[in-house]
């Protein structure tokens, strides 16, 4: 009974702590999240024109990379997530890319036929769900991102080309993965972590956190012996 009370009170404190932590949110990140959730109307027809004509049109209208307001986008469209959710969303630094390339048409390759629409409409206006039977030639949003990014990175020999170069892996829910008995001690917890993350354990042994051996003998009374630190008088071994 007492155990239960302790457990629940602990839980409540934890929840309270978490909700306290959520008070502050990064405003730009929230904005990016909101933007990523938006769905825009599908552009059925586009101008299949030479890229030069497109560039000229941009010049005429005075649209340049300097017009960009957002620092970054979160490429996290529900269009993709509906089908699968394999990796964490990519933080695409729109402004930075634009500043480096200084050419909108490198990515905004076509423009909508409808003149009233933006010349540099967003990717998801044209590229939505994959394999649209009415537009078989139009690739889906996920493929559009991947093809556009990877191809350019490869060509320019700049920028990541591997999966985790851009994505964070989705961290799986550890609730089902961790198998610990009630009241496991520190060593058991460590062993359980190492069951999957043995590489992380190896890496840990090479870090200062592990190798630190207390105050330098040269600073404290010039003694040669080592007194503290995880390598010696450690509090725990993880």
């Amino acid at each position: 009974m007492i155990k239960k009370i302790v457990f629940y009170s602990g839980l409540m404190i934890l929840v309270a702590g978490l909700s306290m932590a959520q008070v502050w949110k990064a405003p730009d990140q929230e904005k990016a999240k909101e933007r990523a959730k938006e769905r825009v109307k599908f552009v059925k027809e586009y101008k299949n024109e030479d890229i030069i004509l497109h560039k000229m049109a941009l010049v005429e209208k005075g649209i340049t990379h300097k017009d960009i307001t957002e620092n970054y986008f979160l490429l996290d469209s529900p269009i993709i997530k509906e089908r699968e959710d394999h990796y964490g969303p990519v933080r695409f630094a729109h402004k930075r890319h634009a500043a480096l390339i200084e050419d909108c048409t490198a990515c905004h390759h076509y423009r909508p036929k409808d003149e009233s629409m933006s010349e540099t409409t967003r990717c998801s206006a044209c590229h939505q769900d994959s394999f649209n039977p009415e537009h078989p030639e139009r690739i889906g949003l996920k493929a559009a991102f991947h093809q556009q990014c990877t191809e350019c990175h490869q060509e320019k020999q700049d920028g990541p080309v591997t999966c985790t170069g851009c994505h964070l892996k989705n961290v799986p829910d550890h609730k089902d993965l961790v198998k610990l008995a009630d009241g496991a001690d520190a060593f058991e917890v460590t062993a359980e972590c190492l069951r999957c993350h043995d590489q992380a354990g190896e890496d840990m042994l090479k870090t200062a956190h592990w190798n630190w051996r207390g105050p330098s003998p040269f600073t404290v009374e010039h003694r040669k012996d080592v007194q503290h630190g995880k390598g010696t008088t450690a509090l725990n071994n993880y």
């Binding site: 089908r83 699968e84 394999h86 994959s130 394999f131 039977p133 078989p136 030639e137 690739i139 889906g140 996920k142 493929a143 991947h146 093809q147 990877t150 490869q154 060509e155 020999q157 591997t162 999966c163």
Partner: protein, 304 residues
């Protein structure tokens, strides 16, 4: 020989009549391909060899995780074939093509069941365990399978794998075309869903053929002018386009005749309505009767 004459005449009457009627009914061979099947177009120029399709396939079909799943390139050192635990595999080929930096550029090839329009395995299967579905799937039903492996003999792509290490209940295993998924509205095969670059395009075969032709036409320098699967063995539901000739990528060179055509033509022209066995039966009966009668005059009947 105990041959009652009256019975014999009765029997001969029937056989003669049916034999006369039958030969005309042996028809020319007709394709049994579904009219508007689904398919997949694999664009080898797009494939980056990430092997996510293997992963997606394993998840969807509840198979063990692919070997060296995490982008380990040593996996490409050996050519892998689909097997009982992996319905699709990606292999790497260096065909002499160079990339922008003059380095050998790899071509990755995904292998799986081609889901032929007139599948040899379907024609071969002794008990109809393999069927070609309306949606294009070549579907295996283990409940009818006897494990004879004739499908494997017949398959020109060498796709069906077999649980050789199961002594009593081995199954034939191959790409399912995610039959249950694509049977639902908007459903996609696992590999096509997960492919990051849409190297696999899912759709109606007709649409995909048009799309493939369009891609080749719009970029003739990039593609070889060949849609693998358009005509091979009478056409397959899965189609491939490539920048490298298919012969360099372990694609078997195949005739345009559907594999079952010859055997089925012979079988059906000989055995439809069992006309030839009945005719033969009648002929042999006639011979037996003739010689039996001749014998009666000379000697006693010989016992069987």
């Amino acid at each position: 020989m105990q041959l009652t004459r009256r019975n014999f005449f009765k029997f001969m009457g029937v056989t003669g009549a049916s034999a006369a009627a039958a030969p005309s009914s042996a028809q020319a061979w007709q394709s049994k391909a579904p009219p508007d099947p689904y398919g997949c177009l694999v664009d080898l120029t797009r494939c980056i060899g990430c092997r996510k399709c293997e992963e997606g396939c394993a998840t969807v079909n509840k198979l063990p995780a692919p070997v060296k799943a995490t982008c380990d390139c040593t996996v490409f050192e050996k050519k892998r074939r689909p097997d009982v635990n992996a319905f699709t595999t990606v292999n790497r080929y260096f065909s002499g093509k160079l990339d922008v930096l003059d380095k050998p550029s790899p071509t990755y090839v995904k292998v799986q069941c081609m889901h032929c329009q007139d599948p040899a395995c379907v024609s071969a299967c002794i008990s109809g365990a393999i069927t070609k579905k309306e949606n294009g799937t070549v579907h295996y039903n283990v409940d009818r399978c006897i494990g004879c492996r004739y499908c494997m003999v017949a398959c020109p792509f060498e796709i069906p794998a077999y649980e050789y290490h199961d002594p009593i209940t081995p199954e034939v295993r191959k790409c399912t075309f995610c039959f249950d998924r694509i049977s639902k509205e908007g459903g996609l095969p696992g590999c096509a869903t997960i492919c990051p670059v849409e190297a696999i395009t899912f759709g109606k075969r007709e649409t995909l053929l048009k799309l493939a032709k369009q891609r080749i036409k719009s970029d003739p320098n990039k593609y070889v002018d060949h849609i693998y699967g358009e005509k091979e063995v009478g056409g397959t539901s899965w189609l491939y386009v490539s920048s490298v000739p298919f012969s360099k990528l372990s694609f078997p060179e195949l005739p345009e005749t559907p594999s079952p055509k010859l055997a089925e033509t012979i079988q059906h022209s000989l055995f439809s309505y069992l006309w030839s066995p009945i005719l033969l039966f009648g002929f042999l009966g006639g011979m037996m009767y003739k010689f039996d009668k001749k014998d009666e005059n000379t000697q006693d009947k010989g016992g069987a």
